[in-house]
Amino acid sequence: MGLRERLLPRLRSRDDRVFFLVHLPVPVIVFMLLASMLAVILYMSLPILEREGLRVFTSNVWRPSDDPAREEYGLLAAIYGTVYTSVIAVLVAAPLAVSLAVAIEELVPRRLRGAVEVLVDLMAATPTIVYGVWGLTYLAPLMKTVLNTLHEHLGWIPFFSKPTLTGLSYGTAGVLLGIMVVPYAAAVIREAYSMIPWHLREAVYSVGATRLEAIRVLLGSVRPSIVAALVLAMGRAMGETVAVSLVIGNSLNIDVALGSPGTTVSSLIASKFKAAAYYEYMMSALFAGGLALFLIGLAVNTLGILYIRRWEEEMHGAA
């Protein structure tokens, strides 16, 4: 079958052809939209890329100036912060999401299941700005206590090597993001878990597994879905803006200490955007940040897809 046959639908009548032609704008619009989004971001990043080259991604400076010749921008801290906070988020979310998914399927009595489902849906639908307000008001002070206590007792561990004055930090941002992405990850894992064939469940129990052992084996059989869920969660965490920008402290800072403030690409864009209009290159630098954000997201998703592919090949490919 040629590409043409595979790509285009089979149109058996004039009526079908009319129907297809009427809807032809759909693929055109979708392509153009995606292409123009990328083109715009790339185009707007060109000035800073031409000026600084890849250094804009690998250096950590933010030097606006009325004299364009002296302006200099580097996104490294923001890129680092995006990756760091979303990794923390996934580490926080993974056990919570897996437990939540399994608990709904295995532990929650049928009568209560509906109520828990509503809560999970609500958790996903709650506007991110509300998470941000809560994070700023309640989570940050709590994290301040936690991080400072950890620093006092375990300060030799690099992650706890710095105290925090305000609670606004990488750690707080990562935890808040983790909380926010739990429902998305849990939904994917739950869907997969509920699709495990009944006969596999019978098989585990028939060899004498306890409930916990059975859950462990069954979770193993949906590993690709768990990976997919975590990739999705990581993507969402990386793209999140307002909630993070409220709790991360917005400072260009590269540090593994969870207590130190930092920034992410999207919170950098959010916080510098207003000022950017007054400088020659700052706006372009922010768009370069957008480009980086897109590329990191693409990389994470590609790795996830590759992992799942390999798993599937291993399972079902030729022996």
Partner: protein, 253 residues
């Protein structure tokens, strides 16, 4: 110790309130094949799942009656269902090795969960033993660490049998083990059953009277949850006492 490994006395099962197994009693002597026949929906699978307390994982199931495994009533209060399942192997209608585990791990899962072996070498030996018993060793010995999902249907079913055998069970339950297999694979499994019964009793659910005639020493006929007739296979087939049995054997029901 009685020569009957498994004794069922007045067993009743309800599923969601529906009386599916009705006051069933029978005995399975050691080293025999005991076939359970009956039309679709007559409760064969349900009855079989009552014998290793697998019905415990069905929320809607309720069981009454006694099932004595080597003299111990598996439904008496102090008995742990895991203790039971560890001694009763089960093979299902759908060949169901764990697709994400390797061939080796599929066989090893029971012994590992139940802490049956002390060393890797002991486990290797047990896995090999089970695979040999299941007539699978020669076909897979060079690819023990390949995922089980890649095996053929018949191989998968033999792997399921090896998984059950690795528990060194006292009884083997088989729920239509050949229903999803082609004739060649079916023949292989039947040979295997004949070989295995030299060591343990097997309860075999089957749809096919021919299969029962070929492999079973005893045959029971279940009809709408009631055990209509039970006896030596030869007798059931040649002089059935109950007209229902006869009609079933003639494929009228």
């Amino acid at each position: 110790m009685p020569s009957e490994v498994l004794v069922v006395e007045g067993l009743n099962v309800w599923l969601s309130g529906k009386h599916v197994v009705k006051n069933v009693s029978f005995k399975v002597p050691d080293r025999t094949v005991f076939a359970l026949m009956g039309p679709s929906g007559s409760g064969k699978s349900t009855l079989l799942r009552a014998l290793n307390r697998l019905l415990d994982i069905y929320e809607e199931a309720e069981v009454r009656g006694r099932v004595l495994l080597e003299g111990v009533d598996i439904y008496s209060p102090g008995v742990d269902p895991i203790w039971v399942r560890r001694r009763v192997g089960m093979v299902f209608q759908h060949p169901n090795p764990f697709p994400h585990l390797s061939i080796y791990d599929n066989v090893a899962i029971g012994p590992r969960l139940n802490r049956m072996v002390k060393s890797k070498r002991e486990l290797d030996e047990l896995v090999r033993w089970a695979l040999e018993k299941a007539y699978l060793w020669d076909e897979v010995k060079d690819r023990l660490h390949m995922p089980a999902a890649k095996l053929s249907g018949g191989q998968k079913q033999r792997l399921s049998i090896a998984r059950a055998l690795a528990l060194k069970p006292r009884v083997l339950l088989m729920d239509e083990p050949t229903a999803n297999l082609d004739p060649v694979a079916t023949e292989k499994i039947e040979e295997l059953i004949a070989e295995l019964k030299r060591e343990i009793p097997i309860i075999l659910v089957t749809h096919s009277p021919e299969q029962a005639a070929r492999v079973a020493d005893y045959t029971a006929f279940l009809y709408y949850g009631e055990l209509v007739e039970v006896g030596p296979t030869g007798k059931i087939f040649t002089q059935p006492e109950n007209p229902l049995t006869e009609r079933y054997l003639l494929r009228r029901i």
